[in-house]
Assembly symmetry: C2
Homo-oligomer: 385 residues x 2
Amino acid sequence: MPDEVLNDISHRRYNPLTGSWLLVSPHRTKRPWQGAQETPSKNTLPSYDPKCYLCPGNKRAQGDSNPRYKNTFAFVNDYSAVKETQQDYHPETNKDDVASLLLQARPVTGRCYVLTFSAKHDATLADMTPEEIVPVINTWTRIYASHLSPSHPLNGQAAYVLSTIPENPDGEVTPPKHQLKNMQIFENKGAAMGCSNPHPHCQIWTTSTLPEEPGKELVNMRKYKSDTGRHLLGDYVKLELEKKERLVWENDSFVVVCPWWALWPFEVLIISKRHVRALVDLDDKERLEFAQAVQEVARRYDNLFETNFPYSSGIHQAPLDCTEEEAEMSWFHMHFYPPLLRSATVKKFLVGYELMAEPQRDITPEQAAAKLRDCGGELYRKSLQ
Amino acid sequence: MPDEVLNDISHRRYNPLTGSWLLVSPHRTKRPWQGAQETPSKNTLPSYDPKCYLCPGNKRAQGDSNPRYKNTFAFVNDYSAVKETQQDYHPETNKDDVASLLLQARPVTGRCYVLTFSAKHDATLADMTPEEIVPVINTWTRIYASHLSPSHPLNGQAAYVLSTIPENPDGEVTPPKHQLKNMQIFENKGAAMGCSNPHPHCQIWTTSTLPEEPGKELVNMRKYKSDTGRHLLGDYVKLELEKKERLVWENDSFVVVCPWWALWPFEVLIISKRHVRALVDLDDKERLEFAQAVQEVARRYDNLFETNFPYSSGIHQAPLDCTEEEAEMSWFHMHFYPPLLRSATVKKFLVGYELMAEPQRDITPEQAAAKLRDCGGELYRKSLQ
Ligand SMILES: O=P(O)(O)O[C@H]1O[C@H](CO)[C@@H](O)[C@H](O)[C@H]1O
Ligand SMILES: O=P(O)(O)O[C@H]1O[C@H](CO)[C@@H](O)[C@H](O)[C@H]1O
């Protein structure tokens, strides 16, 4: 265990990936809760919903019809946050003009995809087998590979992957019109995390700019490398395998931990054990083992409070357009941010103090990891098949 | 208006207070919403609730009884996130030890207060008159003043304020046992913002460390000052008074704006027009005008969607323990972060992309400001008295 005293005293922990601190108040879950309650989600969904815009064969909001796809299906979001073509905008910058310092804007273009995980409306990653999740990971890999810049250091791997991973017969992704900088794959699961359709799916937003979070991580990973000569997440994986107290699960290729600096009550991080820079670096066996890790997290989450556990998850890896050095700094990992704190109905709110002052959590990551270690095994509810 | 094109294209805006960017997608509110709906709050609360632990005369969770207070009442939170005394902790730091780089923790002590705004269980700041809000601001000011370090550059102002603002007969605050670094005053209003009791109140968390957000703001304000010789927020107030497009309201002493870099759909910032470093710098007239500004924001929010509008708000000002130079850099302001997006029932979720990549908003701050300018006037619902 880390110093025992950290179970009892309020303290700050440092997140070396983002370079920021958060407040940990281990004793604070004792307070009574009279606030908002979430509705525990029941799995009473049909496996096909004629009104769902993601189910195979159905019509979408803007008139397009989905193919009768078998597992994954990717399409460009009908309401994308960024678009490939838009009016030009060249802000005037002039160091002597206050407005150009305090009212700064820059154009952002890109392409946003929606990607279904399964043809079944009522499936979740927790219900699917690792083998059923592999097509999702294959599609992520193909989409990533087909958006890399012509001079990308991972182009060799991308070409190999594109020639070996079977093409998805139900809608292949075309290369972008202009080279983009970054691809963010993420899933919002559950109404509590702003998901507006329970059909299992993720989103993929590609942008002409490097967003804040992966940008901060790259800066901190680079700094660690230049200070120590080693990789931050490489060192971290070794440390967690030694200490074990935050380890939730591992296989040959991946560890699942509640990171030392976890903010969300049951936050976990899937990290590759070897230096994987991006999805295209993974071989067949590793893609299956990544699917196993994802499935473990989803199933343990559902088992923890016997509910369809809400979360946002997201993958960080090398940018789509980057130098040899930036690719080398990148270390493949996947974050899971779940809001539930004490039960299926009581979540942690990141509000007042967290927004105005500093993120704050109520139980320690070590306590969370112990609970997640204890809820492996079969999915608590009957699986779909 | 800012370049018209920013109403139509996706772009990033820069937040000079935190030094970070956010994504703005003006066209995105057109998408249909099938996700979670908030419950619009009805004001059917009694003005006294015998089960409320904040109502005058009632018993609290740990047995203490509240005095029969008239307006404000402050007490130390029975479930504080930080405490004044706890076991000591001195982390070992050793540059050659990976654990001391990647598993960093520091102790945090402090004191957390709860402060009621009114004896009435069903009042909100929107229902109260500016004159009724003045006692709240007076109490904030007295609490801030009584926690300043002995060498604080604002001690003269603090002494003056403590001798002129009437003491609250219902429970005065005692000085902290150890000198603390920072005081964060914040309100979580509404179940959607994690508030567990509708009785109008805020919290005040004082800590031995300077939290992330005010820390970032100080760094950026200092940098701006050393680059330009002027105050960031001073320049910003002038700019917004000139441009008018993000201005919601003003009086002699304060402006209310939807800041250029607003993240939450109807986020606003109250900024003092002159260089006010902290609450103790405000004179009588300014405290009343600050109460007016707070009331304007709360009432306009409620009028906007004709609901009891949820938000988190918080004050940033000079730290409790700081140098002359840090006090000089500080510029008094109050943030309001409200989650509602389109109506009383549809909120903006800051989830997947926002957490993994970069904060994202759907309407422009100029559009939000125009709506808030248009909903002044009487409170839409019958006031309490
Ligand atoms: O202290 P309260 O009101 O019970 O708790 C509320 O505010 C705190 C400070 O922003 C948050 O940490 C909690 O998640 C929220 O529910
Ligand atoms: O695109 P969706 O699923 O409609 O929207 C959801 O995810 C987005 C990206 O995290 C958020 O901006 C929205 O607030 C959320 O409701």
